[in-house]
Symmetry: C2
Subunit: 158 residues, 2 copies
C-alpha cells in the first residue's frame, strides 16, 4: 500500500463534506463516522490535520461540526493528501521543497554522487504530484452517481 489509511479516510471525509449542500450547515464527526463506517475517535485526528491545513472549518458546541473552508472546486487533492500524509515522497532520499523542486538528500555531500536512481524516483514523484494537483475535490463529490460514463471508464484503466 502506497498511502496509509490517513489519506484513505481523510479523503472520504472531504468527499463527504463536498457532497453536502452548504445550507445543511456543518456535519458532525459522529454523523460522518457513522455514514462512512469509520472509527470516530480516529477521524478526530484526521479532522485536526485538515483544519490546521486550512481545508475545513469547525464549529464547536451543539449543532457544530465541520464544513469545507473553500468551495470544492478550489481545493486540490494534492493539498488534501499532503495535509493528511505529510510530504509526498516515493523514497527516503527524495524530498520535495515548497517550490515543487525535487532534491536528493545526498546531493552536496562531498564525495557522494547523487543516487543514480534519482531520475526514476523523481519521475514517479512528479507524476503523482501532478495527478493530485490536477484534480479538485469537486470531481470527487458524489452526485448520487448513477453509472460511470464511458469517458470515466476509460480514465480508470491504465
Amino acid at each position: 500500500m502506497i498511502f496509509s489509511t490517513k489519506a484513505e479516510y481523510g479523503v472520504r471525509v472531504m468527499a463527504h463534506l463536498a457532497g453536502r449542500s452548504a445550507s445543511d450547515g456543518p456535519a458532525s464527526l459522529h454523523s460522518i463516522a457513522e455514514a462512512e463506517g469509520l472509527p470516530q475517535a480516529y477521524l478526530e485526528h484526521l479532522a485536526a490535520r485538515l483544519r490546521r491545513a486550512g481545508l475545513v472549518e469547525s464549529r464547536r458546541g451543539a449543532r457544530g461540526g465541520y464544513s469545507l473552508a473553500r468551495p470544492a472546486e478550489a481545493i486540490t487533492m494534492a493539498e488534501v493528501v499532503r495535509a493528511l500524509e505529510g510530504r509526498i515522497a516515493p523514497i527516503e532520499c527524495i524530498t520535495d521543497g515548497a517550490d515543487g523542486n525535487l532534491t536528493c538528500v545526498r546531493e552536496g555531500e562531498p564525495g557522494h554522487a547523487p543516487c543514480p536512481t534519482k531520475l526514476l524516483w523523481s519521475r514517479v514523484q512528479g507524476s503523482i504530484v501532478r495527478t493530485l494537483n490536477d484534480m479538485t475535490l469537486a470531481e470527487l463529490a458524489r452526485p448520487a452517481a448513477p453509472a460511470p460514463t464511458r469517458t470515466e471508464a476509460e480514465t480508470l484503466n491504465v
Copy 2:
C-alpha cells in the same frame, strides 16, 4: 515514504548490473553490497525476488554472481518495482489485475457502492504505473555520469 527499501535497494542493484559491461561476467552480491554500501544478507532476499521474476540470472559457485537476464533496454522499471514490492496499489481497496485494469474490491458487493474516491486513487495508480512502464533500466544505467546535463536537470524538476 511511498516505496520501501526493497524497491530502493533493488533498483540500485539493477542499475549496478546495468552499468557493467556484459563481458565482465556476473557480479557477486558481495561486490555489489560493498560498492553500493548496502547490507549483503538483505540483498540476497531482493536478488531472489529479481531472479524469480526472471529479471536477473544467477551463477552459483566460485566466480559466480548475478547478471541481467535481458538487455537493459528490454527491462521496464514497472517490472523491477513489481518484482520487489509486489502489486502496486495506492491504497488497500484498489487492485490492479494482470490486464492492467483497476478494480475496487468493494465493487460487486451487493448493496455497496464503489468508493466515491476510486476515481482519485485510480488516477494516481495509473500515473505511477504509466511512469514506471515508460522507463527502462537502460535509462538508469549510470554512464559514469560527470555532471548532469541541462536537459536532465530540467527533467528532474516537477
